[in-house]
Amino acid sequence: MGQGADASKVIRHVFPASETGFDPAGSQDYYSGTIEQVIFETLLTYDYLARPAKLVPLVAETMPEVSDNGQTYTVRIKKGIYFTPDPAFKGAKRELVAADFIYSLKRLIDPKLRSPWAWLVEGKILGLDELAEAAKESGKFNYDAKIPGLEAPDRYTLRIRLKQTDYNLAYVLAHEPTSAVAREVIERYADEGGRAMSNPVGTGPYLLKEWVRASKIVLEANPGFRGFVWDFQPGSDVEDRRIVAAMKGKKMPQVGRIEISIIEEDQARLLAFEQGELDIMNMEAPLAPMVLDGDKLKPAFVRRGVKLSRFIDPEITYTYWNMQDPVVGGMAKEKIALRRAMAMAFSVEEDIRIVRSGQAIEAQYPIPAGVVGYDPNYRTRVKFDPAAANALLDRFGYKTGADGFRTLPDGKPLVIKYTSRPDTLGRQQDELWAKAFALIGIRMEVQKLRFPDQIKAEKECKIMMRTASWIADYPDADNFMQLLYSKNIHQNNSACATIPEYDRLYEQSVRMPSSAERDRLYHEMARIIEAYAPWRLDISRYRNMLTQPWVLGYKKHPILQSEWQYIDVEPAPKGG
């Protein structure tokens, strides 16, 4: 066992959906990413306790040196870090070097891999896009080619040169798709698509021991891991001090084995936790009232010693209207009026109270809590006001027709098509919006599409109206404000919106580091969203993580997907 890890200490965790595979460049879902985060390592990571999230070095010796006005990043890697043994290394101990990160970053843009994370490096690094273009022509990516944007002046130094100023590259270097992988391993185990999904070999604290797909994943502490001493500083949270007291000075990782089950049904997950079959669980909204009274644990759970780690997820849920749609889109005043009326007819309060069981707050600002650029004082001007909505529609000529529903100003029938998923949440969203439309007398139709079909239609700008969510890839506001930038249409600008004023402000904001000036720009952009209503902001959800009393030192991190290497387990016998 590595440095202090105890094989008898086991954490039983649960995923509500299945994983796909463990190649940082190849997998895209949250749960695969969670496993990758502990098997592989990135240059940087986040401090376990610091809030708001703070970047710290992981395999880097120190934070990167940024020079040339934010266009050059230089990082030095710690010496003496080794990959776990694998036949691909032919018996030798394989050390981690800068070239491994160059390889990983190149993989992201290799056309053969079709990595869903290509956008992390696309258009940013000198010479990289050209290499990808060449690969498309020749059919093979030249990993050996030297490019000015990715250099290793010596074995342990990495230098990245960017095409333009980018203050967010450090976040990218903390995101697990950029983890270091060993080229020999990839080449040995890659499938036709160039991905090695089933043989993860990394430098991280855990390795993959057992894997029953879509059912069970078992990780064991990596015996060759360098380990670290738990030494985080407490923040302002009272709980932090207890955590520090329990954990300080320990050699990590302590937990020797992690067993992850995949349980799709809410009831089954909760019952398993209550029976003591699970140690950590994300309490999702539908059954939260079983366990929580508002924002506190129910007394029965408190008595048992169950702990709650609760905060607002850095995500926003919003409803968008397709700005290219002939019925609801565009910049004409009566279309703006239509969208704003619909926005005013929707009750966020009911969404929170009934659909989310109180486990969410209203999203006033397009940037959620926990993200740099968040403004807790900003208040939206969009309110639940059906009377005003009706008055607005009357004013712009949306007359009530013979069937009792409003028509377009030119008399043609008006039908709004709302797209949602064929699951319980989708149905509840339908019901919420059905009530809203009933308040303003507009006919609504529901289109049921499965998630992949939704994404397809959305990228083709064919969905009229849908409620979508976006969770932070990294904790900077830009990750959210880019969602309405017109150059991102057909990618992640789900509303297919082109608002010249917004674009102008966005382009200015990209060139700024986080500052009061940038915040001012963001405030204006938020007002533009409210005024033109391509979106109606809805909520940000609470994340409620439950842990059993024998789990020590746990505090859910807003960006990191798991905390297994930072916690401990009491060796006492478990309940259930």
Binding site: Q28, L271, Q275, R450, P452
Partner: protein
């Protein structure tokens, strides 16, 4: 006999072709486009075109169809589009858990149903008969969804007699600990209709002339039931059991889902949700082949049980 078997095997080919064609049309038309799922959060039209090229869905239809037919012949459906796991590996590993659940269930269900049907047929017309049949009907009228929700809540959670969900490593652990409650639920749902059906089959036999003759000859009721009636009723019973066997491959997907059992039924739902064509293609073809083979076996068993049956 052999000629018959060969002829039947030969006849499977047009059916298989029909299945291939139908699945291909259905899926290409309505099955969803996997390129968008695989493309990720932010991707350009170019990347998507790239993916479609890799998956082979940008080829003309007849080329894709040809590839599909070749895959069936070689029984190699490639790898899952979403996880890259080889399809054959998927099927082989998921088959185990599904079978651990469904084979015991089938055996228990058939034996219990036959036993109960015999008993009820014995006392036909009596109050017991009526009472049992009515309770069967009531049991039948409750949706399996309700049974799963309530049973999991009451027996696993409130009473703690079974684990709430999960699957272990050893066969015996899986069979005894994890499969018990799912099998119990499946039994409750299957015994009722089977009991009604088998009772009908047996009553049909009891009303036949040969039974009257046997009684007139002085045979005991027991012998009549066990030896004669059962033997003759076994033909429709066998048909019934055989008819359910191919369904085993898809598995009781609801039970697998609620109890997190890594079986084929659950895999099918996942594959459909992800538009994972190779997995669905493979499962469909295997079910089709299995159906045809089981039908053939059923017919052969008829002949074994009843020599009067003429196979055409």
């Amino acid at each position: 006999m052999y000629g018959y078997i060969i002829r039947r095997l030969w006849q499977m080919i047009p059916t298989l072709l029909g299945v291939i064609l139908l699945v291909f049309i259905l899926f290409n038309w309505v099955g969803g486009d996997p390129a968008y799922v695989l493309a990720g959060k932010i991707s350009s039209a170019e990347q998507i075109a790239n993916i479609r090229k890799q998956l082979g869905v940008d080829q003309p239809y007849y080329v894709q169809l040809g590839i599909f037919i070749r895959q069936v012949v070689t029984a190699d459906f490639g790898a899952s589009w979403s996880t890259n796991e080889p399809v054959s590996h998927i099927l082989v590993t998921r088959l185990g858990p599904s079978m651990t659940l469904l084979v015991p269930w089938l055996i228990l269900s058939t034996l219990i149903s036959i036993g109960l049907a015999l008993a009820v047929a014995y006392v036909r017309g009596s109050l017991t008969d009526r009472a049992v049949m009515i309770s069967c009907t009531v049991g039948l009228s409750i949706s399996i969804l309700v049974y799963i929700i309530v049973f999991q809540y009451v027996f696993a959670y409130k009473l703690g007699w079974f684990p709430v969900q999960g699957w272990g490593d050893s066969f015996w652990e899986n069979l005894v600990v994890y499969s018990s409650l799912p099998i119990l639920i499946l039994l409750v749902v299957s015994i009722a209709p089977d009991l009604r059906l088998f009772r009908t089959f047996m009553l049909d036999e009891i009303n036949q002339d040969y039974v009257r003759t046997a009684r007139a000859k002085g045979l005991s009721e027991n012998r009549i039931m066990w030896v004669h009636v059962l033997r003759n009723a076994s033909i429709p019973i066998i048909t019934q059991v055989m008819a359910t066997l191919p369904g085993l491959l898809i598995g009781a997907f609801l039970v697998e889902r609620f109890f997190s059992i890594p079986g084929i039924g659950r895999e099918v739902i996942l594959a459909v949700e992800r538009s994972d064509f190779p997995v669905i293609k493979a499962i469909t073809v295997y079910v089709a082949v299995a159906t045809m083979i089981f039908n053939l076996l059923a017919d052969l068993m008829y002949k074994a049980v009843d020599p009067r049956v003429q196979l055409k």
